[in-house]
Amino acid sequence: MVQCTLAFKTPPFATFSSVSNTETRCSVSKCGNTESRMEEKALLKVEVLFFAACREITGVEKIELKVEEKTTIKTFVADVVKKYPKIGKMMDNMVLSVNLEYTDPNSEQTLKDADKVAFIPPISGG
């Protein structure tokens, strides 16, 4: 297979280390080949929500992320913390919500396409 070096366009969504490059086709090749193909990995879309203190610290209310299949909650959280390091120190006193269910941030449960993950800082209703 001919190796082509190209600059990939930045996708309109954030991707992480657990995410592979998604571009699969080269339109220009230094070696003259008009196209080649990188190996495609299936990616899942995950919606992430931040609330209250978490939202203020990240500066983000909602973001859509793409992750590889079989990414665990634990890995996903680690990647989010890499992206938003300031919430790292909050994680000991936070829980997640995955599709409206309270979930342990250290869970080995794997994510599915269209999952909604919310970072839940300490609640204070009432």
């Binding site: 929500l49 609330f51 209250a52 203190a53 209310e61 909602k62 006193n93 936070m94 829980v95 919500s97 409206l100 309270y102 979930t103 342990d104 869970s107 919310a118 839940i120 800082p121 300490p122 609640i123 204070s124 209703g125 009432g126």
Partner: protein, 206 residues
């Protein structure tokens, strides 16, 4: 004729300008609202705004609302001819905490999940106690000093069930419903944490 035309043109221009200014004012002074929560905009409002009605049936009312909570109206909503007791809890905004002067509270919620948790609370109340009607309302956005931030009302044939259910409901709401309170002072604000919040219990590790 020329003067009349000029007058008409001037009046039309003035009207258009006034309307544009009014619409711009309303647009830029709306509190920020999203599909998922209501954020505090720092202004107190109890005029007519869109309510988020979570669930309303003949016997159960669960609601998140930016409007002032009318405790008398809610009390009347749980009245039932078969019931001899109504127990209510109303939480109000206090003007002080830990020696600091509080100027107001503001609340936000993860609305779909708050709805789910309030629904679970009302179902569990019916599993445990013989109650007739349940109303649980929580204020979102700004809640000024002295006003109600939360109200729970339960009616039952006899008082023991209503009193116990009401008490259990507020304790469970504070532990499980994803609503957040921000306490505002003259020189800053802070997000609060309920002592009932326990991550291990919420995720089933306890």
């Amino acid at each position: 004729m020329h003067a009349r035309q000029l007058m008409a043109c001037a009046c039309t221009t003035a009207a258009v300008t006034a309307t544009t200014c009014y619409l711009a004012f309303r647009y830029y002074h709306q509190p920020t609202q999203t599909k998922h929560n209501i954020l505090c905009d720092g202004k107190g409002k109890d005029d007519d705004e869109e309510q988020i009605v979570l669930h309303e049936s003949e016997d159960t009312i669960l609601k998140l609302t930016p409007r002032k909570i009318d405790d008398e109206r809610i009390n009347n909503m749980v009245v039932s001819e078969c019931c001899g007791a109504i127990a209510t809890f109303v939480g109000t905004t206090r003007d002080n905490f830990d020696g600091k002067q509080v100027t107001m509270l503001s609340y936000e919620a993860y609305a779909p999940m708050a709805m789910k948790q309030l629904s679970l609370i009302s179902k569990e109340i019916r599993n445990r106690w013989a109650v007739k009607k349940i109303a649980i309302l929580h204020r979102l956005g700004v809640c000024p000093i002295g006003e109600a931030s939360v109200m729970i009302a339960v009616s039952s044939p006899h008082r023991k069930a209503a009193l116990e259910a009401c008490h259990w409901a507020i304790d469970t709401l504070k532990a499980k419903v994803p609503i957040w309170k921000k306490e505002h002072y003259k020189d800053g604000s802070t997000w609060k944490q309920n002592k009932e919040f326990d991550p291990a219990t919420l995720v089933g590790r306890k």
